[in-house]
Amino acid sequence: MEISGFAGYLVLFATFAGVYAVLALGLNLQWGFAGQFNFGIAAFFAVGAYTSAILTTPPSPTHLGGFGLPFLLGLAAAAVTSGALALLVGAITIRLRTDYLAIATIGIAEIVRLFLKNEDWLTGGVRGLSGIPKPFADLDGGWPVLIYMILVILAVLATYLFLERAISSPWGRVLRATRENEAGAAAAGKNVNRVRLEAFVIGSAIMGVAGGLFAHFFSFISPEAFDPVFATFLVWIMLVAGGSGNNRGAVLGAFAIWLVWSGTEILTGRLPADMITQAGAIRVFLVGLMFQVILLLRPEGILPERPEGHRARPRD
Amino acid sequence: MSLLEVDDIHGGYGGVDILQGLSIRVGPGEIVVLIGPNGAGKSTAMKAVFGLVRVRAGHVRFKGEDIADLSPDRIVRRGMGYVPQEYNVFPSLTVRENLEMGGFIRKAGVAAQIARVFELFPPLAEASQRPAGELSGGQRQMVAIGRALMLAPDLLLLDEPTAGLSPQFVETIFAKLRDINALGVAVLMVEHNAKQALAFADRGYVLSMGQARHEGPGPTLLDDPHVRESFLGG
């Protein structure tokens, strides 16, 4: 069976948007529920991708590989390494103001990027890492991509359900309480920082899984793919536009903004040839502008937070 | 005509109305004191008058003008000064700079007014180049009051000016406030030191649950058995 033309484009779209939806869900746990500023999503995304890639690729002269682990194990490992990185960063900054976490996460993203670019022996450096196996790759025609899309959709679903359960659990209630009334929650004896740190780590682990999904879809990754514009900023726009503090909003925002982003690609593709090289900058500018407009006019997003148990955020 | 007329105001923080129909008056040159238990709304009342807390219903009239919707920086221009209870100085600025900031909106005469404040509070003259954050509690309170006096207000609001001060300083502050009042400045203050406050004041209000329950000349309230029992510890 072949998939081509518009159907092929849809499959591509759904897969990409799905990966972003997982990222947005992870961010929602960190920001929407725990109030933690993660501006280094790219770091956790990349670490997850590279972990899964390195553990599943065949031996190679350009990078570390040859472990030949199966796809699912690669994803699991991606969650672990991303989570571990988050634990490191979070443990240091969790007691401090949220602005410090923002700065620290931006820093971590840069360090990770430097590392990926320079440590060729491990990552293949700027040349990237190729040959990442896709599950069911030996099926012919369009089946592999179709199955992969379904896999990603399932991952989105699984993450969504997992987070919905987590949020309505006792742990989740403590988390929401700390976001809304820190002093009160602390007074009630709940370990505010511990719960926040846990949310941060779990959210990052989820981002790591998204990274793994990304890597196996493209079968080639390089540091360029984890540019902060695409890997951090776009996710934030998705969450704000969709409605933060709201898992459904996260998924909706991911698909909606990915639609817009893809739309800008089509639009700028029609530009005269000499402007094509600038297409990237035009798209970034437009999306940045759109973001400011959203912040000004509808910061609560398409799906505002549900009123039950979600009172208005405390003023800083 | 009263200098300040608070008429049946309701207001508070966020959605909760701490003030439930409070009415008080301050005449020109009067010393009026607000006493009452914690949570009665004393500080909230002051903040409402000065525009730091929203007045949802009722009127606040200063010199005949409705000021309930004005922001603090507008109100301060009309001749009302406010000394908060906490964080009432600029700690990294020197004493002199604190006073200068008090006189920020003055067109002229800042130096002269600073001189007058120094006359009133000699310790400040000595410490004029020291950062306010390094001063003792009592000295800081002087800076805080001095800062509010820089605009020569007709009405000075003070929120618990003697809180946390040694008994000696408490005496000093009351004495200084008397001096300030002698210059024609009306004083409205919240005080925890109810006995001393009522002895010192022209009139007092006993607040409870966001309303004024008792009112009268200071000495009268001081002698009122009801008031003594509830708020003055017998």
Binding site: G107 | F50, P72
Partner: protein, 284 residues
């Protein structure tokens, strides 16, 4: 030994640039209460505005002044049309918006000038030798310029009414309002001063290296590290912070690959956050 001193010298030059950026960050943070992630790109704006004026035939020092003024205008416009409306909400929204602003400024610059490197003057300056050390005339200008700017800032903050009002607002914003200080004007001046310093840092950076749309963004981490080191919200602390980070980054090339310079800044910042989050001199 000479190599060490040479690196120290380069570190001081870099440190001056970082300091100018860090002071601006600290001022904005102390008075407006949010971490402005667009600050690096404001530096880039300054550098490119100077390029425009140089292109018009102005001598570099005049273009410098023009760039400072122009960047101040940009910063004020951004505040008036964007940040001012978002201030009502939490500082969180401002931070996110500043991230978006950073992207917008950067992509706009790239659209107009393209992604390639640019310089103010073609050719390479020859270094002057003294005491066995080499220093380029531009670098002397950078250090001298930074000293002059910091001195001017000090005079502004300690002698002028608006400078004192800015310090007062940073100390206690509510009290400043109670005293009748016009917070709107304080905010305006904060952006102006911050932008002037950022633009200067940008032009100096361009003079020392080259112009590139990402030039400010690449140094943002170092600037934040310097501000945190000095105590974020404390402009004078940022001086010590900036010099420290600059020197540390240059010295690190003795043991690390130059590619990891920003990792050094990051490591220092993390160490600061672990042991003394309020900075060497105790900020917020």
């Amino acid at each position: 030994m000479i190599d060490l001193l040479q690196l120290l010298l380069y570190g001081v030059v870099l440190g001056c640039i970082i300091t100018l950026g860090a002071i601006g960050i600290s001022l904005v943070f102390g008075i407006l209460g949010f971490a402005n992630f667009a600050h690096g790109d404001l530096m880039t704006v300054g550098a490119y505005l100077a390029l425009v004026f140089v292109g018009l035939g102005w001598p570099l020092h005049v273009a410098f002044l023009g760039a400072l003024a122009g960047t101040a205008v940009v910063a004020v416009l951004v505040d008036q049309f964007l940040y001012r409306h978002l201030r009502r909400r939490s500082s969180v929204v401002l931070v996110i918006s500043s991230l978006g602003m950073a992207l917008m400024l950067r992509s706009l610059i790239q659209l107009v000038w393209g992604p390639d490197n640019q310089v103010y003057q073609p050719g390479i300056q020859l270094p002057i030798e003294f005491l066995g050390l080499r220093i380029k005339p531009n670098q002397i200008v950078i250090v001298g310029g930074a000293v002059v700017l910091v001195a001017a800032l000090h005079v502004f903050l300690s002698r002028t009414k608006m400078g004192k009002a800015m310090r007062a607002t940073a100390d206690n914003r509510d009290l400043a309002q109670t005293a009748g200080i016009d917070i709107g004007r304080v905010v305006l001046w904060t952006w102006i001063i911050g932008a002037l310093l950022a633009a200067a840092a940008g032009v100096f950076l361009a003079m020392d290296t080259r112009l590139h749309p990402f030039m400010g963004r690449n140094i943002l981490l170092a600037i934040f590290a310097a501000a945190i080191l000095g105590g974020i919200g404390k402009p004078y602390g940022a001086i010590a912070g900036g010099l420290t980070i600059g020197i540390a980054e240059e010295m690190s090339t003795l043991v690390l690959s130059p590619a990891y310079k920003s990792a050094v800044a990051f490591a220092i910042m993390i160490a600061m956050l672990i042991f003394r989050p309020t900075g060497l001199f105790g900020g917020r």
